[in-house]
Symmetry: C2
Subunit: 229 residues, 2 copies
DNA sequence: CCAAAAGTGTTCGAACTACACCCATGT
DNA sequence: ACATGGGTGTAGTTCGAACACTTTTGG
């Protein structure tokens, strides 16, 4: 391959992943304690260096699969972070991604293995480098995305209840929503499938399970519908 | 400085700038014909490699200043582009930024010097690499941004008329807007200053000039107001 | 006097908000 | 029987969408 750009400088480039989870009415981020220098022992996002012959997206996928054990998570780029001194080791340019995962799919062994924990987004500890800013930016990106695309379902089990779904959106938007208005809107969209089965965990009466109907949704998209919450 | 990451690979990292301009009811992008290999002679965005000791944002500012002659343009990151083969020379990871500029502030000599031209966004030629995608993504970013922040004014002269402003938003959103509704909304926001002077270019009758009042706007922001169009 | 763009109010319907009570069930 | 969360409908308001005519003035 011709060396066109010889006189230019090269940089380390990494990806950092903001992995969101949801459980018991709270949004969580997956954080871990660094096991290597610099800043060994400090809280950090999951990340990794981009390897030769690997696209930036592929690197993010790889890191996500490594630390969740799940392939093909929903993920989206947040942005590039390029301050000269953002990494105190050496200069590293990093590209942040957020991902959405169903916390119940998770085996706790993997967490232990990586020295990782789920931390409530409202109670973030100080993170290394500019990782706090990354999480904040990722939250904003999630809000924007969740308002116009039905991505929230990635944070829930396949079968979920409407109260659960409402709690999820309340956690994402950091606000309270009216129960009746929320249900009305969701049901009128006609993208959910109501099951006969009930979840009896949360209450004596039990709440009906629903499933997101991908097919209906993409059909509606074709006919000019767009999701908005 | 300790060499913590020695075993990792380094990459060329560049910035590419989507510079938007507006004139005579049309949105333009500043493009240039490459004067160096690879793909010399092809249409391309303005870009440049990140230099040692320079942050990614600084690199974008530098490139913008170099090719517009203007400092402190409004600019915002679009995202990182990291496909392995996106650059046919060698592997380069690129971070795209869009910027907004008043086309009238422009000296045509600089354009000549860089072999650059203003091209209508609706009539983009094929660009090198993934630059077409970058422009499309930048358009989307501009739409999103313009809907929630008064950034459009950066594309206009300091003094502008309401019909001009409306045309600008029509160009950004790629749609027609109702004259009366548009004026009503803008004026009710109370962020514009009406001047006594008229622009007699566009019509016999002439249209009153307005100016964006930064101070009023930031004052309103403090009291919970938010821009939305 | 005519062409061409600037400027101006009102009405209608859709969508959002607010709000309170009954239901089902396990203990 | 009661405590707990699940489920339902309506009225009022606000906001955006649609819409047509008058004004100004240079040529």
């Amino acid at each position: 391959m011709a060396a066109y750009y010889q006189e230019e400088v090269k940089f380390y480039v990494s990806v950092d992943c903001i992995i969101f989870g949801f459980d018991k009415n709270e949004l969580y981020v997956l954080l871990y304690k660094r096991t290597f220098e610099p800043l060994k022992g400090h809280w950090s996002l999951m990340g990794g260096f981009i390897k030769s012959g690997e696209s930036v997206n592929d690197a993010a996928s790889r890191v996500l699969t490594e630390c969740t054990g799940i392939k093909d998570l929903f993920m989206e780029q947040v942005g590039a972070y390029g301050d000269v001194t953002r990494d105190i080791g050496e200069r590293v340019i990093s590209i942040a991604y957020f991902a959405l995962v169903n916390m119940n799919d998770f085996n706790t062994e993997l967490l232990k293995l990586h020295n990782a924990s789920w931390i409530k987004v409202n109670k973030l500890p100080p993170l290394i480098f500019d990782h706090n800013k990354m999480v904040i930016d990722a939250m904003a990106a999630l809000k924007r995305k969740a308002a116009i695309c039905p991505v929230g379902f990635n944070l829930l089990p396949e079968k979920f209840t409407l109260p659960q779904l409402q709690c999820l959106y309340e956690a994402i938007y950091q606000t309270r929503l009216d129960k009746r208005n929320f249900r009305k809107k969701l049901i009128s969209m006609d993208i959910l499938e109501k099951l006969d089965e009930k979840d009896k965990e949360g209450s004596r009466r039990g709440a009906f399970y629903y499933m997101f109907n991908e097919e209906k949704y993409s059909h509606l998209l074709d006919s000019g519908f767009y999701f908005s919450l």
